[in-house]
């Protein structure tokens, strides 16, 4: 599997170097920054975190809101204990995109906040780190409600 992927990477590099015109290489060049091994680790870890969620859904009859709370709280605890960052180093977006990553981000922000601003940082650090995601969700939610209506499930 590893060999195949490395070969893929080589082929992929050759492809851009040998067959593409210079202008396209500049446009497509951003894809060269993708590390395929990193992508594979991200896929597997991200997928496995979702599988944990699926087992919880199927085995415990927890509602979606409770599943999300469990993940975000677990992420914050693991982040606070300094464990989650190893998973982030290993899997990249595979660890940051699931909601455990959101929780980790909040906890990490709180710690950074304490380092920088002391007591005030406890309250400002977490949300500051997650501000982009929260604001985007609120804003896009509002926009979606303006232009779209719910439809019957099929």
């Amino acid at each position: 599997m590893m060999i195949t992927l490395l070969e893929c990477k080589k082929f992929y590099n050759d492809f851009f170097i040998n067959f593409q015109s210079e202008r396209v290489v500049i446009n497509m060049g951003i894809f060269e920054s993708i590390d395929l091994m990193q992508l594979l680790r991200c896929f597997v870890v991200g997928g496995l975190i979702c599988v944990i969620g699926q087992v919880l859904i199927d085995k415990t009859k927890l509602t979606p809101a409770r599943i999300l709370v469990i993940f975000v709280t677990t992420g914050a605890i693991l982040g606070g204990l300094g464990i989650y960052k190893y998973l982030v180093d290993f899997a990249g977006a595979g660890a940051t995109v699931p909601l455990t990553g959101f929780g980790n981000n909040l906890a990490k922000g709180a710690i950074e906040g304490v380092k920088e601003y002391g007591i005030v940082g406890i309250f400002t650090g977490g949300v500051k780190n997650a501000a982009g995601g929260i604001a985007a969700a609120v804003f896009f939610g509002y926009i979606a409600s303006l232009i779209s209506k719910p439809k019957m499930k099929k």
Binding site: G46, I49, P64, A91, I147, S148, P150
Partner: protein
């Protein structure tokens, strides 16, 4: 089954569990795995692109969140996300896409009760707990860090 399942509530619950079909857990896990992995991989690709542009990890992570949230809000608005969710289960729920969907879907549903108390008031009916527990947990983490860390930190 020797005794009557209606003897006690516990007997009946056990009997009902036996009678109820289980979720197709292997199929569900497989779908959750590859869809969840795919969503994270999209995040990774965006992250790598940001990194190649010289952005730091924190900003890259925020950009990934905003883009994925934008995509899932868009798909929710097009009445597509619930179909993905039905197929993928936790695969689309557990990534940040599920958080976005759980904010956008009540916003759309309660639009009929007006923009202020409907959209504005009910937007967090599903995702509110995530923020409450996530933020509270982060504050507790920060507080514990303040007490137990060995380096000096500013107190105000």
């Amino acid at each position: 089954m020797g005794s009557n399942p209606l003897d006690t509530k516990k007997d009946y619950q056990n009997y009902v569990d036996q009678k109820s079909p289980n979720s197709p857990i292997l199929k569900n896990c497989f779908n959750a795995f590859w869809v969840g992995g795919l969503i994270c991989s999209i995040g990774q690709i965006i992250m790598d692109i940001c990194a190649s542009k010289g952005l730091d990890t924190q900003i890259s992570g925020t950009i990934v969140s905003i883009i994925l949230i934008g995509i899932s809000a868009f798909l929710t608005g097009l009445n597509i996300f619930n179909k993905i969710g039905k197929f993928a289960g936790a695969g689309s729920l557990v990534p940040i896409t599920g958080f976005a969907n759980s904010i956008v879907s009540p916003a759309m549903e309660y639009k009929s009760e007006g923009y202020v108390m409907g959209v504005g008031g009910k937007m967090f009916t599903v995702a509110g707990p995530v923020l409450v527990f996530g933020i509270s947990a982060s504050i507790i983490v920060g507080f514990i860090y303040l007490i137990f860390n060995t380096q000096t930190v500013p107190l105000v």
